[in-house]
């Protein structure tokens, strides 16, 4: 092996790579410990192992989870996060409920198209004009809220129909929202792992310049990543709308924060190009568990916020530690 030039310098590199994986193992070790601790905490909490509490946990996980899967696409594509995703979710609940009179299927199609377009436009602006993703999403947030309140007059939509109730029905033993979420998560992971779009998202997220030099147009990839995020968000929107039998600008409030928390706690890199839906899944469940447990143990909402903030901070610090 040493007969060829340049190989001599390889040995340190390979050791360094092993070292790198050791560091990664350390990070997953910490994550593992955290998960085990939460599970012990959960089992020892009275009332946790009841059907009601688990059902409510799974419902929360399903609603936040769909949005978090969408956010994963945005983060992976190198665009950090979208502030507007909660607002576009709210707007989609309104579109869905306003069009439910046309029948469930047309309303679903409209809702998904609407949310995909809303996010796709942002993706196009960000990709094509290389605009700052955070600024664009903040502007979009404001514009979505503004136009929605202008159009609806600030009132929610409460159709007198139960056409959407089927979305909340059980699929055998599995609650409908959970089944929908599992479908979104599996589809998201499959897209990332086994399609050209998925690969391109990783490449562009790692380095848009390098991707361009490899013959990939980064803007197109970013656009599709946002469309994917919009579709995932729409899934959450119709589930929430069906559950509350209404469309309202309040429905999506806070979802962008919960989603990005789940993405980061799961261990997807904020710099893009590294992570997966699977990790987001872990992050979503972890955060929802913590929240549920705190409620069961009688802690207030303020403590929930504090704790989630701390967990997100720890997740970010852990990423930083691994990188350096």
């Amino acid at each position: 092996m040493n007969s060829v030039g340049g190989r001599a310098s390889e040995k340190p590199a390979s050791v360094a790579s092993r070292l790198g994986s050791m560091h990664l193992d350390k990070a997953s070790l910490i994550q593992g410990i955290a998960v085990v601790a939460v599970v012990i905490f959960a089992v020892s909490t009275p009332g946790f192992l009841s059907t009601t509490s688990i059902r409510s946990l799974l419902t929360t996980v399903s609603f936040v989870g769909c949005v978090a899967v969408g956010m994963t696409f945005i983060t992976l594509s190198g665009n950090i996060m979208s502030f507007s995703i909660g607002a576009s979710m709210s707007a989609t609940t309104i579109v869905f409920m306003a069009s439910i009179a046309l029948g469930l299927i047309p309303a679903l199609i409209l809702a998904f198209l609407f949310c995909a377009a809303l996010n796709g436009i942002q993706g196009w602006l960000i990709g094509f004009f290389r605009a700052n993703p955070l600024i664009i999403s903040m502007a979009a947030y404001s514009m979505i809220i503004g136009s929605a309140v202008y159009i609806t007059g600030g009132r929610g939509v409460y159709p007198l129909t139960n056409k959407a109730d089927i979305l909340t029905a059980n699929l055998g033993p599995i609650p409908g929202p959970l089944a929908a979420f599992l479908f979104v998560a599996i589809a998201g992971q499959l897209i990332l792992s086994f399609t050209r779009l998925g690969r391109n998202i990783y490449l562009v997220g790692t380095s848009p310049r390098a991707a361009k030099a490899a013959g990939i147009e980064p803007w197109r990839t970013v656009l599709w990543a946002y469309v994917a995020a919009g579709l995932c968000t729409a899934a959450s929107a119709v589930l929430v709308a069906a559950r509350y039998r209404s469309g309202d600008m309040e429905h999506g409030i806070g979802y962008e924060y919960h989603a990005i928390s789940a993405v980061l706690v799961g261990g997807t890199s904020i710099r893009g190009g590294e992570g997966s839906v699977l990790r987001t899944l872990v992050g979503t469940v972890f955060i929802a568990l913590m929240q549920g447990l705190l409620i069961l143990r009688g802690f207030g909402i303020e403590l929930q916020y504090l704790l989630i903030g701390l967990i997100v901070l720890a997740a970010i610090m852990l990423q930083w530690k691994v990188r350096t």
Partner: protein, 520 residues
């Protein structure tokens, strides 16, 4: 305080018969028994070296030999695990670069360390311990201008924002910063990698002046011609160990390379001649505002066409345009006779044009992804069916491309970051070689920052591609490479095309004259 034996050499150097003292007098700066490891990697192993006043010392070695680690320790940026550093015979701990600066050690690091949003003036004085809390700007301006003048860079105004300068000019600013430091030891870590030959000549003049003033220069370079041109002696490192220090008169190019490699040297540039195949690429009247003015060229199949020019001459812009990365280019580019729309990387890719960037870290490869991911990055379109990919076929393709480009197949899962520069460049090549048909490869500085051994392999790879029917268009500032590699050499000077040489007409003098100061 501690007395040190003069000219102490390591055992291996003594064995090699290279232990004769080179200089009389006492060293200004010496390192004794330095060791440094990064995790389990031993970057330096018990290394001792002396530097003398009035001397320009080259430090040579392949990538990973420990050159940069050594100078980082000498400049106080990194701290050694063991060993001592003596300045003027006194042991100094060198715990920070500020302390090194106070002692009189100045350094130009390998990576640009310049703030693009500040002015040239601010950048020159950035981090200097000479600047008091309330500086007298007039005096500082005079000294900064003086340093730029020494480098023949008077045209760079002190008020210019550095972001507006070319990379070569930025490097000059950084060297000017070093010159203002009132230092006695000047360390330059590959200062010429981004510079053109005329700029390099100016730096050499400045270095010769430093030497005449009795100061010491430590000079790291991959370009051996520079070693023989300006250095008095050369220290060779290999795998973190000292091979020896020799006076420049006592060694020639071949011996130096053999010292670096630790084995006999095979000729770097394979024999090759102009084959005049069918025209693969035809460029006519290509212009890029502010960069290229009316450029025309033909790249035949089976040939390497080199565009030689200084940094900023437009040579790189021509290549970037052909790769579809310049949005405001005009003119006609035909591939295999078919016209190509400019400004779209995808379009260029569809015409079977593959691009190997000169900026390997940021553009050439995906650093944080695996070797496999890098190799198949350009092949996703070809390997997908209705947008879906089969992991097995991706793996098979990565294996195939790794074999073609000479990347170790056992390292397909390693991160690209963990590979040496030479192997990273092979990755960048490998991902271009997937197409069923031989296409066009366009390259910028294909061997920038790559050690001699890997360089020879890459040249061989390039010639191998020629015989498969690929055509290569290369932009390079390295004249030795251009002359050794090119079947056709086109010279450029300030956005315009100067000369066109073919086969036997290719010679260093004319090309040098063309790109520095053309008469035509």
């Amino acid at each position: 305080m501690q007395a040190l034996p003069e000219n102490q050499r390591t055992k291996s150097a003594a064995d090699a018969g290279l232990s004769a003292p080179l200089f009389l007098g006492s060293p200004i700066f010496s390192a004794r028994d330095l060791s440094k490891s990064f995790g389990p990697v031993n970057a330096l192993k018990h290394l001792s070296v002396d530097f003398y006043p009035g001397e320009i010392r080259a430090i040579c070695g392949e990538n990973g030999a420990g050159k940069s680690t050594l100078v980082k320790i000498l400049a106080g940026i990194d701290r050694p695990d063991a060993g001592t550093i003596c300045f003027d015979g006194k042991v100094c701990p060198l715990s920070s670069s500020i302390e090194a600066q106070r002692l009189g050690i100045a350094m130009v690091a390998q990576e640009l360390s310049i703030c693009p949003d500040l002015s040239v003036f601010d950048n020159i004085w950035l981090g200097s311990v000479d600047v008091p809390f309330l500086p007298r700007r007039k005096e500082l301006r005079r000294r900064a201008a003086e340093a730029l003048r020494l480098l023949g860079a008077e045209h760079i105004a002190l008020n210019t924002t550095v972001g507006q300068l070319t990379i070569g000019e930025r490097q000059l600013v950084e060297i000017a910063r070093m010159l203002t430091r009132n230092a006695r030891v000047f360390i330059l870590d590959e200062p010429t990698a981004t510079l053109s030959d005329s700029e390099i000549d100016r730096i050499f003049v400045a270095l010769a002046r430093i030497k005449r003033e009795g100061h010491s220069v430590i000079y790291i370079t991959h370009r051996l011609a520079e070693v023989f041109k300006i250095c008095d002696s050369v220290t060779v490192l290999r795998n973190g160990e000292m091979v020896g220090t020799v006076g420049i008169a006592a060694i020639d190019r071949k011996k130096l390379i053999e010292m670096m490699l630790g084995r006999p040297f095979v000729e770097m540039y394979p024999e090759h001649g102009y084959s005049a195949g069918d025209p693969l690429l035809q460029i006519e009247g290509l212009s890029v505002p502010g960069a290229v003015n009316d450029f025309s060229a033909v790249v035949p199949r089976g040939d390497i066409v080199c565009i030689a020019g200084q940094v900023g001459s437009g040579a790189e812009d021509v290549v970037r345009t052909v790769a579809g990365l310049v949005y405001n280019a005009t003119g006609s580019v035909r591939v295999n006779g078919k016209p190509m729309r400019l400004g779209s990387a995808e379009e260029a890719f569809e015409h079977n044009i593959n691009f190997v960037s000169g900026d390997r870290a940021e553009e050439g490869i995906f650093r944080s992804l695996s070797v496999t991911d890098n190799l198949v990055a350009t092949r996703l379109r070809a390997l997908s069916r209705f947008g879906f990919l089969n992991p097995n076929s991706l793996r098979a393709e990565a294996l195939r491309l790794a074999a073609r480009a000479g990347v170790d197949q056992r390292r397909l899962r390693a991160r690209a970051d963990d590979l040496s520069g030479g192997n990273q460049q092979k990755l960048a090549f490998g991902r271009c070689l997937g197409g069923a048909q031989a296409g066009l490869l366009v390259l910028i500085q294909p061997t920038r920052g790559i050690d001699i051994g890997a360089r020879a392999e890459i040249y061989q790879l390039m010639h191998g591609l020629c015989s498969e029917g690929y055509g290569l268009l290369v932009a390079s500032t390295d004249l030795e490479e251009v002359v050794g590699l090119g079947d056709v050499v086109i010279t450029m000077y300030r956005s315009r095309q100067v000369g066109n040489y073919r086969g036997k007409a290719i010679n260093m003098q004319d090309i040098m004259a063309d790109i520095i100061h053309p008469l035509k």
